[in-house]
Symmetry: C2
Subunit: 152 residues, 2 copies
């Protein structure tokens, strides 16, 4: 699928099925061979200190890892139920503008292991890192564990 269609497809899906996604005015902006990136403006995600709310950043980071998992499955012709089993966030500095998440594609060996495991066992899990920057420096780091399994 062309990248623009992938982006449209994921944005349509999240706007339809995850009401918090349009509430955050979030969108998948980039999905290419290096990774993917969501963006959400500050206004609907602000907190009482006038900076990005940690809860919004955590939610958008969780969706970023979900989208990387879904995209990777899609590209291998697979579908699966995707769940997040745990996550860790570190809040390092304030974000005073748009929230922009970045998730790099796992290396080829990690992707192969993940897909092979899913095909052989009908389930697999992996860990994904997401970062949100402010002025080029990490402002929030996120590591999430995602599990996939064959749907009913």
């Amino acid at each position: 699928m062309p990248q623009t269609s992938v982006i449209q497809d994921i944005n349509d899906y999240l706007n339809r099925y995850v009401p918090l996604f349009p509430a955050m005015q979030a969108r998948l902006e980039r999905c290419d061979e290096t990774g993917l990136s969501f963006v959400a403006p500050l206004a609907p995600n602000i907190n009482d200190k006038g900076i990005a709310f940690g809860g919004s950043m955590a939610a958008l980071a969780a969706l970023t890892g979900w989208a990387m998992t879904r995209t990777t499955l899609d590209e291998h012709g697979e579908t699966a139920e995707i769940v997040i089993t745990d996550s860790v966030q570190k809040f390092l500095r304030p974000v005073r503008g748009d929230i922009v998440t970045e998730c790099q594609r796992p290396d080829a060996e990690a992707v192969k292991q993940f897909i092979d495991c899913y095909r052989q066992r009908g389930k697999a899990r992996w860990s994904l890192d997401v970062v949100i920057r402010a002025d080029g420096e990490p402002a929030m780091t996120f590591t999430g564990q995602y599990g996939v399994f064959r749907g009913g």
Copy 2:
């Protein structure tokens, strides 16, 4: 302040300054001598699997720890800037109804240490646990580190 006023005060504050809070249709429902509890209905916080979105649960848990910190400061006549510095979530089972967070009050010694430290150094930090249950069993556990410091 009577508990009903505390509850009203925190709900008004979050509805005014954190747009994601009304977007989640969340509210502080209980704040008493044992702890506090936020509630949010499933509909605005649902995901593509028809269960509670992990990002909504993480955001509501983060606010729960924030509210416990603010309430504790208030009760000791103190105000402070409150920040979350890191958090860990474990997603253990699906939540198919209202999201209800629970945070127990830290024991008296932990509260004393926290307040004493803040009064002496102008800053302090502590760790708070929040749980969301489904059918009486933990469905998500959250541990957050919160820092407080004197505002400018």
